[in-house]
Symmetry: D2
Subunit: 467 residues, 4 copies
Amino acid sequence: MKNPISVKIAYIGGGSRYWAKMVLTDLAMEAGLTGELALYDIDYEAAAQNERFSEELAKHPDALSPFQVRAHKKLADALRGADFVFMSILPGRMQLMAHDLDIPAAFGIRQTVGDTTGPGGISRALRTIPTYTAYAEHIMEHCPQAWVINYTNPMTLCTAALYAVAPKIKAIGCCHEVFGTQSKLAGLVHRKMGVPEPHRSEIKLDVSGVNHFTFATRASWKGENLFPLLDTYLSDEYDWSDQSAGAAEQIAEGKFFGSRSMVAYDFYRRFGALGAAGDRHLVEFVPWYLSSIETLHRHGVVETPSSFRLGTWQAPANRPGAAEDKADEDKRPLLEKPLQHSGEEGVAQVMALAGGQPLDTNVNMPNLGQMPRIAPGVIVETNAQIRANEITPVVATPLPEALQSLVQRVVDVQSLTLQAGLRQDPQLALQALQLDPLCGHLPLQRLEELLHQLLNTNREALPDGFF
Amino acid sequence: MKNPISVKIAYIGGGSRYWAKMVLTDLAMEAGLTGELALYDIDYEAAAQNERFSEELAKHPDALSPFQVRAHKKLADALRGADFVFMSILPGRMQLMAHDLDIPAAFGIRQTVGDTTGPGGISRALRTIPTYTAYAEHIMEHCPQAWVINYTNPMTLCTAALYAVAPKIKAIGCCHEVFGTQSKLAGLVHRKMGVPEPHRSEIKLDVSGVNHFTFATRASWKGENLFPLLDTYLSDEYDWSDQSAGAAEQIAEGKFFGSRSMVAYDFYRRFGALGAAGDRHLVEFVPWYLSSIETLHRHGVVETPSSFRLGTWQAPANRPGAAEDKADEDKRPLLEKPLQHSGEEGVAQVMALAGGQPLDTNVNMPNLGQMPRIAPGVIVETNAQIRANEITPVVATPLPEALQSLVQRVVDVQSLTLQAGLRQDPQLALQALQLDPLCGHLPLQRLEELLHQLLNTNREALPDGFF
Amino acid sequence: MKNPISVKIAYIGGGSRYWAKMVLTDLAMEAGLTGELALYDIDYEAAAQNERFSEELAKHPDALSPFQVRAHKKLADALRGADFVFMSILPGRMQLMAHDLDIPAAFGIRQTVGDTTGPGGISRALRTIPTYTAYAEHIMEHCPQAWVINYTNPMTLCTAALYAVAPKIKAIGCCHEVFGTQSKLAGLVHRKMGVPEPHRSEIKLDVSGVNHFTFATRASWKGENLFPLLDTYLSDEYDWSDQSAGAAEQIAEGKFFGSRSMVAYDFYRRFGALGAAGDRHLVEFVPWYLSSIETLHRHGVVETPSSFRLGTWQAPANRPGAAEDKADEDKRPLLEKPLQHSGEEGVAQVMALAGGQPLDTNVNMPNLGQMPRIAPGVIVETNAQIRANEITPVVATPLPEALQSLVQRVVDVQSLTLQAGLRQDPQLALQALQLDPLCGHLPLQRLEELLHQLLNTNREALPDGFF
Amino acid sequence: MKNPISVKIAYIGGGSRYWAKMVLTDLAMEAGLTGELALYDIDYEAAAQNERFSEELAKHPDALSPFQVRAHKKLADALRGADFVFMSILPGRMQLMAHDLDIPAAFGIRQTVGDTTGPGGISRALRTIPTYTAYAEHIMEHCPQAWVINYTNPMTLCTAALYAVAPKIKAIGCCHEVFGTQSKLAGLVHRKMGVPEPHRSEIKLDVSGVNHFTFATRASWKGENLFPLLDTYLSDEYDWSDQSAGAAEQIAEGKFFGSRSMVAYDFYRRFGALGAAGDRHLVEFVPWYLSSIETLHRHGVVETPSSFRLGTWQAPANRPGAAEDKADEDKRPLLEKPLQHSGEEGVAQVMALAGGQPLDTNVNMPNLGQMPRIAPGVIVETNAQIRANEITPVVATPLPEALQSLVQRVVDVQSLTLQAGLRQDPQLALQALQLDPLCGHLPLQRLEELLHQLLNTNREALPDGFF
């Protein structure tokens, strides 16, 4: 048997109670990898708790190759010598995320998630960009050769902010939304082809777009084109009727994340490429589904209320810049049961980059040609090869024309938002809102008020240049 | 003195009572040009009337170089041997244009003009495209070397339809909207610089965009940058207040075309390039001003009611494909007064192409590099050099990023509309509506109903493939 | 154990004595694959011999999954229902290849290979293009969904000719030149890193360029950048001295294929990317090494004399369009020894496309974005992912500027040659010669004479349009 | 009558005896322009002499609007407040230009001019680039809004060097080579169309390429396509025979500048676009005509011997960086005869930029879209509109494919040369030589020796970084 590969991973936002523990668990279960995990969090105590958790974890019988876990008070100490940097933070206090939803709602703009696009996403981006540019500088100082894997949203703009100040940084953004699409199709393969359900990773998607607004232009299982199968399913079996009743039920039960993928499928039948993120995300990039709550519910999608978020991610809400987190981990006596893999790919990516099992997956990275109709350097999400110390994007099949236009528009809004954040320019932020698909129909005076409120509410997290 | 240049001009839509007479008058006043004007109209009698009008005109003392004007019953006869083809028709009965406004209005979508973009423009385009592709084939058969000058709206898509079937056609689209912007700035030069008001053509604009959604990225008079002057004017003098009262007055008086250019100026102060078409057009390309009638009026812009159009262009309303026209020419006893130049550039363009006075002006033509960020071949509006038998576009200054994005979106909607028209594909037409800035926020079901009504109402003017 | 995958492979040029037997052997050794191999050759008898050979082969103990092999008299029968088409033919009689070398030599232009570029390659391309466009039409008629794997040279132009008439064909060109570069580096890893020599496929190269003029912009083994290792080797150990003596020896011994990779290394030290084809090929794309035989020998490279080729590929020389072949297979009593894998990747590619083991390798295919500075659609050679029924190119690292220019020039010469072949236009062929790096310094009159002789000599293999 | 426009022109290289006097004379004859001409020269005394010359000139009866001419010892004083900067210098001592020709000649590379391309041009560029980057910085400090009009060769790289350090500089390069092509065609119009010879400016050329390697893709007079006329002339009348005898005569008579345009015409008949620079320049960009002196003479072109240059531009030869100049001005008792316009366009350009008569002409400036297949920012030569305080390029008709490739190659060589000069990198300079059409066929060892000699000979004019 081969010796495990030894690496140092720095974890910015390492005080999280939920994500960090998943990462620790996945690492512990990966026999091929060992080394050092340096936790950094602006809430040091939270990181220190995770250090203690890792000691317990190491004793678990399923822990195959425990990492040496250590909480650091200084970022430099965490970063120095790192081969990998994980970034997963909460941009600003949790309460600000609630405002990202509630303020636009007062202007009639509802968002199902609010962390990526629309006024909520723009607001969140503006307070994240300065944090990320600062981290980029630290990384280039202390571990310029490290691979940076970002999990924070807004994914695209966090990644773009890193490259804006450090063009040579080796950063990607990772997101699991596409996994859900693979799983749906895996289920379809099972039901329609009479075979055991394949693992989601056997479903090959040709993914392209920008994070949370991605599309599969091709889908196959063992070389079999799955779109004819999907056509039959959608025309013969799928229930396209009004899903308002189901939505009401979801809300009553507090189940805010489910959906029947009606929106992903609707993109497919209208435009010819399958939505490859969850419906909660997809609806935020176009105006059609969020034009009213009724329309949203009709498609079987519900909002995640800000109150729910505040309840779930309670504590760190008051620790701006600390790890984004959930409050419910107490309900997960992780260490008392067989260890469970999170299903995330972070550790698999580290393995592949460290020279282990190669991985072909979708990543967010600068456009080098993988989407030839998008400008070079824009952060796009497509398939890529992850190999020993290399990530190389794969050329994506061109999107259908209408989708290409919709993606381009998102790219433009994000570009304006990035410039607004880098230059601390409220006028560019207003332009971003003006172009945003969810805001555009507001009169300009109202958009100005909306921006004004968003900026003022975020004042604690924004540089002075904005005011 | 030089002999006049002799040319043959074919005029498709030559039965118009208003436009054709202006053209006839402008031609008569141009001493440098003579030859033959072949009028063709699906309403032959209307063309024959214009032939008789021209005989009267020739007797007018201001008529310097009368053309031989002849109405033709066969298109081939009009086209054969033509050096120039003017195209100015009404796409479908006038009543259909009323529907282009009224049907969307029933869905809550108001349009100030409705002939270029939005659901009205898309509807009009769908019935125009087959007419234009047919004309393109006739032109390539009978006078493939002729210069084709189109005046019909939707300008961009009419011109694009010609090139779609006849890539070697020598066609441009001409529009006078930019003249208004020049005039405004000429007035400003007069008032602020203490000089007599220059002729509008002395105001040099660097124009770019697509027809009716164009912007001046630079403006100068005798080399003097006019933007600082405009800055002062807009910040110190211009009345940005609510213009609802004025709008109400306009409506009461039936003055549907005026505006205070508040929208053109608003683009300028927000984005850095000056709207270079009338406000009535500009507002239709973005969602912000037409979000409600109140918002529109607040900016001093009013709708042109469909009833007004029906009243004005009465008669030809029942002659689909005949010349677009106005009913009021009886009020213009043209021949009793000194002849008046229309202010249009059509005859100047013919002169320049025929080897007379060179002309630098804005034209609509395929993108050959004049707008490097727009795809090649797209019909764009920028400055161009018109010289003897040559039209060469001039490279435009790049638009500010947000405007570039807005223009790209219009280009995409138009591209989908063109494909819809060429392939007779209602699904592509629906995609065009989905992406259109005025429609996007409607739920998809409503958009489908809107399209359904538009197609059905236009059934007489659409090919069967749509149904 | 899994059942073998069953496919039908059509083999155009299936009468070859050498290549076809290698393919038959590789197929026989691949337990995972079975099915039907349909041999087609304009020399039917040769194909029939291979059918008989396959019967013997099936009895060999190493034959794991014998194919049903059948020679066909009609191309349509061979192609019908094929999942794969192999193409490996000799374009024109062998004697013509000798002329490709000897005629230019009389004009002072020496070529080491003469099948890809330079006057020899252009001559060969002109007689190949009509053959390939005809095959493309047959393939699209009889098996439009088949994967076409071309081995014939000129690789780029054969593949380009297929796409020129059948844009939807699923064709790639395959070449083993890069394997040699991998092997060299594998040897280096062994010698310098003190590990057993890795298999060549473990050496990861980021390949780009056009066939036979490819470069590795990155090279790694298990994530370790090999360029520092190569730097040390080239500066400390490599013998850069005059290799004329060695070249003389090679010639004396009739060893015309060896080289010390001095040219590949010279590209690396001058331009920063490693030549990834054999020196015999690389020298033909630039003027520096073939400026004289002395200069060539100084770099340790020798010409393959046409007499040698005629001797080796004797018999089929008189069968124009038949399989390119070697005469020496009698010396290889293939069936008496343990079967030996050819080292080629053709069968591995079929396996990957048929849903077996995925393969990442370099292929020749239209540019979809993998080389963003080369025009779309140009046939380039880069890495690609071969998966079940999919080949997707991987984005290549940009070439250093000077190499990009050299590659662009080759692309331009090939584009002119392709147009010359498709339009049967000798003037375009002359333009190709004028731009070709090996010919450019000839006075134009001499170039015209050269072209004249080449065309006349190839008259039997060229369409009438050329004369 | 309008008052003359008043401007300040700074003249770098203002000590020239020939060019400066032409400029002074042209300015004096232009009634519409007046103001200040600030002469700067590293040879102050030479500039002072021109100041005195101007006093004489002012007394001439043909002097309509004499400028106030003043020689300055400090560059800053000359530049401060300038509206225009003329740049016309000799890069390095005249003797170095002789070496630019003689050293390559010793390696078998002959050049007819040697100031633009080939080893001579590259050598000259390397010593010019640092001078120009320094001037660019001075201009941006003292008169950043001035229009900079460069006359120095290598035109493209001088202009490129300005933009490399000052991207916002308003610089163009001006060259009169195209005038010759216009004159030839004007003569043809006269002879073949039976009209008085038109002024060269009436011949409209669609020019594109890079300076001295430009092509007319269209040519017309009063809208009449001149190419059919040219076709007839070249096939029926033009003497294509060996011109060696004529060349010998030219050399015997010391007439080194004439030619019969055989090369310009040869480009036309081979590639479809007319060479738009003199044959002496055109032959240097391709290998075919300079492959031997015999071949050159056969085309009626002769070299300008370095001895002739040394004789002609005697004195300033020893003033590196001083104005490039001719020694023969004593033979031109300029002031005793009616003043003669130089035929150059510099003053007309100033007039147009200053708000006078607009000018459409060819200029060298960064590519903004005028040549869409060339990368943005590359200095290209195409038509442009010169208007009051504006220069806007006109989109050029695409070059025929083979010419596009030849131009791209020149662009690449120039890009490498520019980078070599800016980074002081001899390896990049070697790459430029390797790619240069005149040098490419030399063995690399010889090219290295050639570069070595060129650099060493230029050591006095090169920064230390090169050594």
